[in-house]
Symmetry: C2
Subunit: 429 residues, 2 copies
């Protein structure tokens, strides 16, 4: 099996390393030789530094794609610009494609899956979700006997590292972000990570695999962690919860939930204890119950581990009869993706009110008349006596539209001093 690599950056370098250093091991598992015959990168001197003869190096990816010395094209450039063109060209040239590109699959997966089918080649994308964790395979094959009920994952290492640092070392978001950048856990422009877009790409792909729905990134609700304060992390802890950036997709009676946002989860759940840059995905099947998959979600070698697993699958010929998105094409059917206002969940609210007699009664009355019960409520004295106490609470399950109305009503009380902080809660049971 002859492999052509487009992009010899972090993951490309990792892929080259694995196929070189583990080649004997991989040969014993496949019975076939897998060799990198070509590498394409615009940075020729970088490529020459990494890649040894007799691999052909080029700065023209199209040449690689069209070469008759390449059976599988590995796209590791990222983004949805030129990478999309290269993947299209490769599939049209009847080459199998392996990619780690979540944005590409989340935004143009439908079209590329069709193109692969038309040309009778494989499009493999294990590395696009949760790096080295074989989560695509788990959902598509390992749990195939189940109706998936929901998936909830920590699928972005950067934000999990930042949240872990905020909690462990009492850092503000900005300080934690800066530290993450210095340590290489966050990029110079961290927007895609901290705004939740990267996590949304990944959960969009998993939603399609889980529920047999078309890939629909545009319908995802996305909220990042930039507004999160150290105070709420501490208060959540007092209530027995941790705050994680959770990517969630859930099958409900009137459609599918697809959302990324900071979420309070009970600290006793295994996934609440996933710290640093690690990833973990919780999958609930109707027969198997909850299962969890944990590992490195990023990094050269971890991500390349998934890329090479796809190459091995293709070499073994084991994925030719598995539908790319888990469901046979004709049975993929759209379901309504719920707007966030229609999603039901529990909520953590933090109120900032003047410390007046009868205030708590006023607030609890508003909840009561809206049929919302309060599961936990803390009235927190602030050490600085000149300040009013914080009130924070967790509600029962309620539609988001309704909690927004309640928030508005409380905020319109004359005693209200600041915008109410709202964070969603998931019990994950």
């Amino acid at each position: 099996m002859r492999v052509g690599l487009i992009g010899i950056g972090t993951v490309g370098g990792g892929t080259y390393k694995i196929l070189t250093e583990n080649s004997e091991e991989i040969f014993k598992k496949t019975g076939k030789k897998i060799e990198i015959t070509m590498v394409a990168d615009t940075n020729l001197s970088l490529a020459k530094n990494i890649v040894k003869a007799p691999v052909t190096i080029t700065d023209d990816a199209t040449k690689l794609i069209q070469s008759n010395e390449v059976d599988i094209v590995i796209e590791l450039i990222g983004g949805v610009g030129i990478s999309r063109t290269f993947v299209q060209q490769a599939l049209e040239n009847k080459k199998h494609v392996v990619t780690a590109n979540k944005a590409l699959i989340a935004m143009h997966g439908e079209e590329l899956v069709k193109l692969a089918k038309k040309n009778n080649v494989i499009l493999a994308y294990e590395a696009s979700v949760a790096g080295g964790i074989p989560i695509i395979k788990a959902v598509r094959e390992g749990l195939a006997a189940n109706k998936i009920e929901w998936i909830a994952g920590i699928v972005n290492g950067t934000t999990n590292y930042i949240l872990s640092e905020m909690k462990e070392n009492n850092l503000s978001f900005n300080v934690a972000l800066k530290q993450a950048q210095e340590l290489g856990f966050a990029e110079a422009d961290p927007t895609f990570d901290i705004e939740g877009i990267d996590a949304a790409h990944k959960i969009t792909i998993l939603a399609s695999l889980a529920f047999g729905i078309p890939i629909n990134f545009d319908a995802a609700y996305i909220e990042g962690i930039t507004q999160l304060t150290q105070k709420d992390i501490t208060y959540a802890e007092e209530l027995g919860y941790r705050i994680k950036l959770l990517a969630i997709t859930k099958l409900v009676s009137d459609g599918v939930e697809l959302r990324v946002h900071p979420t309070l989860i009970p600290e006793k759940r295994l996934v609440a204890n996933v710290n640093g840059p690690m990833n973990a995905v919780l999958v609930k099947g109707n027969m198997v119950g909850p299962t969890l998959y944990y590992g490195a979600g990023a990094g050269a070698e971890a991500t390349a581990s998934a890329v090479v697993a796809d190459i091995i699958d293709i070499t073994r010929g084991s994925t030719f009869n598995i539908p790319t998105l888990g469901f046979v094409d004709e049975y993929i059917s759209a379901k309504k993706i719920l707007p966030i206002e229609e999603v039901k969940s529990e909520f953590y609210l933090r109120l900032s009110m003047s410390n007046k007699a009868g205030l708590l009664a006023k607030i609890t009355n508003i909840f009561a008349k809206n049929d919302v019960s309060i599961d936990a409520m803390v009235h927190k004295e602030i050490s600085d006596e000149s300040k009013d106490p914080d009130i924070f609470l967790i509600t029962s399950k309620i539609e988001e539209r309704k909690i927004n109305e309640i928030i508005q009503e409380i905020e319109s009380l004359p005693d209200n001093k600041e915008k109410i902080i709202k964070i969603r809660v998931e019990e994950l049971n």
Copy 2:
């Protein structure tokens, strides 16, 4: 695809349930109809209670195996007696076989894998290890790019439930076992579970998949949890550890470790927080680093989830080119399985000595002259003043043969009062 089910007990009933209740979902994922055509069980009335027409019910499994209305034979009787014969017959009759039988694979896997290959049919056994967790697939396919360095798993729900109860509720082993039996987490004869045999079956299978070695159950070192006291669980906690029955296999320079025993693991590891009857398997690959797989390791539907995943793989035709044990036959080669005396690990020791001046110096001298350092040591006053204090400690890494000599030397001191308690420690990093 026509399925014949031998054994309609717990897992058999679960398999029937999934193939019935999730049939539409499974059809959408395979594009093929999977139907149970025959069920064989010696308990005909039980079978008739569960199975609906038009399924043929028989008490003669051989009839099922030879029927030309059966393409896949599902063996769910367990044990290594008649089940072995049935699986042999099925393979010889060129039927694919799916089994949840860990004892059978661990003890006769070699012979059955050969028989399957000779007859050009699939032998699938995902359900034999860790129930509903797709761990066979993860090691054999998802992590195939890696040299596996080690696997450490909680793969027996009964013992994990007992240990969780001993820790959480301060129960003795016997009380916790009784409770587990009452709740259905332990069988009337719990020997296979509490003596570690079941866990050893499972880790033997994983060792073969991980390292490309023949299945070699006889070489496994097995120690159960029956000798474990509440006291050591508490002391371990004081040192920052939890005690779990860990099944471990590790590639080391002079061979492979294959062992099951109670183990202290740092409480901060995710796997240390797996409680109740749940299972979790930690797999360390040389490229991906540590990954963890968590879920229900037993129970009708969870185990059947893995059985049906195998049926789906066969129906999709996706496993025909994957070596049954992960490595191509001609590259499976034996490695020395280390006798426990040659295994290096850290140790927790609990000493019971007269409370005399200079005693600690005596003990530490014995360690020092043997080049063993002590990482943590506690001298514990017992509330009852008439009793001597407990001493417990954790050593640096040392060969087991050597720690046994040190233990003997300490036990021969005149101040020594009881047999020293020794429990292995794994840092899992």
